[in-house]
Symmetry: C2
Subunit: 187 residues, 2 copies
Amino acid sequence: MKQDYYLALLHYPVYNRRREVAVTSVANMDIHDIARIAMTYGIRRFYIITPVEAQQVLVRKILDHWRMGFGAQFNPLRKEAFETVNLAKSLEEGLEEMAALSGRMPKIVITGAALSGALVSCAVLKERMNQEKDPYLFLFGTGWGLTDEVIARGDYRLAPIQGAADYNHLAVRSAVAIVMDRLLGQG
Amino acid sequence: MKQDYYLALLHYPVYNRRREVAVTSVANMDIHDIARIAMTYGIRRFYIITPVEAQQVLVRKILDHWRMGFGAQFNPLRKEAFETVNLAKSLEEGLEEMAALSGRMPKIVITGAALSGALVSCAVLKERMNQEKDPYLFLFGTGWGLTDEVIARGDYRLAPIQGAADYNHLAVRSAVAIVMDRLLGQG
């Protein structure tokens, strides 16, 4: 049986710069870049999660353009990548769909640049993934990161990306690329 | 002596979709994302290379905003990342500046999703980099990739990124993130 991996980008609940619980806007570039990353690393579905109806309408418009509209003819490779993109109103809704698809709840892997406490490295998690053969959800936050409440739901918390310097303020798009390559790439 | 690593994003000469030699526009998101990647992985300078004067003016405006304008107060971490960004008219001009800074020409590492022939893996190159202690330039193309003429100038050609699937059409921003992490990350 092929293993099921899912990606999700959460726009609520996340922290804003004052550490208040907030909702962020969906960034067009996140959809494009992460859809292509998902496609490259064999992710079954990439979920964009937002409770805001106007944002869902906007995302659907973008998806339709690239899946069925002018974009699909203009760039068939983008069309292919966009097939992996799904929309959910909440983490719950997304998880239910994944569970229905995979036959059981995926294990949740929490990511974040400021995570501390009991962390797992990509190398260790990769090994675990290959042993357990479970479905997995790799969960990424926007804004100033996932809330403590969401973090507490994770089965694993991934150690923050460590470059060569102290600076670790990557775009979430870049973090997704790096984490997927560490866990699923043939490096 | 600390080793000097450089990144450059070439907007000319590159191929367009009909494999004609072309010039591409600078994408704002490339500047932001790659500056932050450069900062994270300890890159000395990130060069944006374009011969088009109007594009240089635009890039300078963006850089000034984030280094000295409103952006610098709004987001000091972005300001810091933008300090690594430099502008050059041509690959030659960029290389001359790097050679002046480092005391010798950097070795050129060519990247591309369609490279074939004599390739080096990230793992092998990483070892080489640690042995040789030379300055290195990691060169990324835009559009449909670096031209054969530019590719021929490389000291190394990096094997294309291999995910879990056959699809390898990542945004250049994502490719930069993955390659930097493979070569310079503490994965």
